[in-house]
Subunit: 400 residues, 2 copies
Amino acid sequence: MKLITEQQVIASDQKIVMLIADGLGGLPLKPGGPTELEAAKTPNLDRLAYEGCQGLLDPIGPGITPGSGPAHLALFGYDPIEYNVGRGLLSALGLDFDLHSSDVAARGNFCTLDADGNVLDRRAGRIPSIQSEPLCSKMESEINLGDIKIHIRSEKDHRFLLVLRGQGLSDQLHDTDSQQTGVPPLKCQPLTESAARSARIVDDFVVQARRLLADQEQANGVLLRGFAHRLPLPTMADRFGLRAAALADYPMYRGLAKLVGMEVISRDTNIETRYKVFDDNRDDYDFFYIHFKKTDATGEDGDFDAKVAAIEELDATIPALMETNPDVLVVTGDHSTPAAMAAHSWHPVPVLLHGGFVRQDAAKNFGEQAATQGSLGRMPMMHLMPIAMAHANKLAKFGA
Amino acid sequence: MKLITEQQVIASDQKIVMLIADGLGGLPLKPGGPTELEAAKTPNLDRLAYEGCQGLLDPIGPGITPGSGPAHLALFGYDPIEYNVGRGLLSALGLDFDLHSSDVAARGNFCTLDADGNVLDRRAGRIPSIQSEPLCSKMESEINLGDIKIHIRSEKDHRFLLVLRGQGLSDQLHDTDSQQTGVPPLKCQPLTESAARSARIVDDFVVQARRLLADQEQANGVLLRGFAHRLPLPTMADRFGLRAAALADYPMYRGLAKLVGMEVISRDTNIETRYKVFDDNRDDYDFFYIHFKKTDATGEDGDFDAKVAAIEELDATIPALMETNPDVLVVTGDHSTPAAMAAHSWHPVPVLLHGGFVRQDAAKNFGEQAATQGSLGRMPMMHLMPIAMAHANKLAKFGA
């Protein structure tokens, strides 16, 4: 369905708060058991669920497991398939790297090559950061691409960010990572004619890197993927007329927020302090995105009990949030991270909507099963933003 | 999702009746209370709900509050965004004005201009019809646009319909209403090159109207919006192979029905008489649209109890309808008009489907909460028509 939200935007004084418990959706540890959210004692969220309405929303689409980038874009009302953010850009955002608009960023992996130049291990034995960091510095200082300046930043373990800076660079480049072992890394293929020079520059980088890493036992090669410019995304002000603010401590989420034109008004790790910052700044913005990381981190660790505790920790802060009287409050996750899987998953995410002429439904507590009974039903997550805007009186009638 | 309904159409003898209680969806007056439909005693509709299935459908899309025009097009199986009906055309339909295919219609507002020509009040103090009607007649008889003939009809209060009739007119014109006060009305901007002459004609009309109204205290200017030709919509016969009939008393709804090729076979205000007319004409048509206005009018008035009474009045007629044995019956609204808001709203609408191999669901009564448990789920309203057609055996298998 085509969205028409943008043509219907009107101004109102009402404030929308979107509280994102990262990776909130979960799974039971055994059949018939509760999910993390259902196991957690959440009297405050349950009361909001009783007063509001719920649904189970698909971050991207049925069956699709999202990364944090597209999952957040969907929360912010962007079609995550239309606005497909490249992995290189997400790496830059995650590292708080100040990407210029003409830069090309790529995600790099150190890899292990055999004597014939075939890939033995796409992740170089997952060498720890302490080993990979000096290799990143060495590549940055010793590889010479003429006019093109190189920036390399170590990510965790075998991963790094490569940024090429110079005139006339294109991101229309195929990955050099074939995602297979037993074959050599791919030569960089230009996807358009005007990207031919950029492809040659990338190949030059790869050849020099291999020479420089030749003495390494594990990390003796590099694989590159997700070449990307900084996307010229329309801002939330452009699209929805919303002055939007982000309150988040992790760089990736601040970066995603900045990508859609939000101002970061708090990096405080204490979430109640952030509620206070929201309250102090409420006149200057219309939309507030508050990010809570611990639910995802504990899910990724496969620690069911720790995720339950994280949810209970968030629940305990809800009275402080409600004292600030947000006009419309959304509580949800960007995706599911079931501890049982220790990874992101495709499962739809429970969404709680509270305030502003909400039509109460039969769901009496906040959880996956309750959300199945909710009046929001099941739909793609990108539709949540127009629904929140409607409840905040920010959308005009369509047609007469 | 792309619709394939049109390629699958087959003929059957079964009759579909769509009973539309305008503005049916509602809200509780206080948290935990019933909506209008839930408060109403509706034993007959409840029995149909028990025997049939329910869902909560979005007239246009999540968060979008519809006007009656697009909401009805969605009920009739048309994508209301693709077939966006201009306000001028809806005004003409609402007044039963016989628009020719080359005419251009626009919705006019009388407005108040200050000494500098800036808009003081976009609605001229909402002057009553008794004041605005003579001004409409005066404009129609005294404004001279050469070859172009002018028709002006008073709508309620400060509103009027302007129809320009002549050769080579275009509706590709921007509104002259900037929707703001403190600024002058906009000059008419042509949206295409070939609309330049039409824009000059509109500007000429506005200048002459202003001269003619100069002595008025409140209504001393005009604002125009929604320039529109009569749309060349594909008919329901073209799209769905349906011979379609409308039974409606209000001109706007008869006009919308005619727009998609329906024949109006009853304007009777008594709904049981209309059921009789349906029964008498069942052999000549496949689809019958029956409109009931009172649920919307009482909702717009903000009168919860009157809307409850209107729903009960409709319920009491259901036995007479069921005596005619419609093969497939749909009972729903075009949108929600909660008395608590005294306006159209974005909330999804309960839909009841009865007959023709319907898969009974757990919902035991007709209402918003029950519909949340219904097997139709939540989806855009334009998908209702293919579902009704399937139950009437009017859609063939897709693929082998």
